[in-house]
Symmetry: C2
Subunit: 198 residues, 2 copies
């Protein structure tokens, strides 16, 4: 019913997560209505991002240089390394402004059901990096799921003997949340990990 190129545009939008037929149609018609320069800019931004961006050779963060801007910086705290599960986490932690150390992005979280085993998370690159560094604390900042917990324990075990403290970001009740909406596993964890008020 639609002309071929409109069909393609709708299919293009449907590649995106959370965008179904109706939204894709709406967005496609929107593209037809905007200025040609804007559409060109959008189209090019997709190609350029795919072609220019790649993994930082040190931490696997996304970058358009050989080293990402965090690894290139000399003003950060070279005693702490924060391990994250994806590049997005880096930008989210950076937005908080409260972490000044370096980051390291894992290739994956261990998930045997999905065929992702300990050898698939990029542990060698991580170990080599820590061996050749002055890091004193390794903060594991992956999500508190079964995969996250398994990965944390595995990393902790592998780093034994490397003379670094291995920590894990806190789990518990998000700030501002109502306790009645919190699941019981989280409540249990919040109880177990309680802290003395100082």
């Amino acid at each position: 019913m639609y002309p071929e190129s409109l069909k393609d545009l709708i299919e293009g939008f449907k590649l995106l997560p959370g965008i179904g037929e109706k939204t894709a149609e709406r967005l496609a018609f929107y593209i037809l209505a905007i200025d040609e320069e804007k559409a060109d800019f959008f189209s090019k931004s997709i190609i350029e991002a795919k072609h220019k961006l790649h993994k930082c050779s040190i931490c696997s963060n996304i970058t358009d240089e050989e080293k990402c801007n965090i690894c290139s910086s000399n003003t950060r705290d070279n005693k702490t390394l924060c391990i994250v599960e994806d590049c997005r986490s880096i930008f989210l932690f950076e937005k908080t402004g409260s972490f000044k150390g370096y980051y390291h992005v894992l290739d994956n979280l261990i998930s045997p059901l999905d065929g992702i085993n300990p050898e698939d998370i990029g542990i060698e690159k991580l170990v080599k990096r820590i061996e050749n560094s002055s890091f004193e604390e390794i903060i594991i900042a992956v999500k508190p799921s079964i995969e996250g917990e398994t990965t944390s324990l595995y990393i902790k075990k592998i780093l034994e003997g490397l003379n670094v403290k291995v920590t894990r970001i806190a789990s518990g009740i998000p700030l501002g949340a109502d306790i009645e909406y919190i699941d019981s596993l989280t409540l249990e964890r919040a109880l177990i990990d309680r802290k003395e008020i100082e």
Copy 2:
């Protein structure tokens, strides 16, 4: 904080309606994770759609030919013409499968507050088309807003003397809707336009 080409990609997504900073970031990171061919396809679909699609010379529907597939068809009912406010409406009416006539897309609905006057809706093209045709009924199928009503009345007036019946699609309560959620103007209209049960 983000590399330049990632920033551009996020800005690109932010051009779309209903997509703010957070969603744009999420979609941009998604693009970085998908296959290069898929990203290429999406990027090209935007450019291609903008370059190949244009208005049908007869009805102003969107098409990649000189005439759209509806205007090119000889099997449709050449006695009825349905006037719509945008191309999307054509596809929506076509999906119902219950209209077999031809369509005509207006350039605009009359809206003096937005500086859109009767001369801006493309009335000459419409009148010329009707004069050179065998249409017996003109169905006005624009939304029942102030702009839609004004435009309908104006078209009705202009078409006087052209020996065509001018009709308007029904307003009233949508099928399946609860009456308690219907605004009073719609209820009033539903009452006024009541029909004898046959």
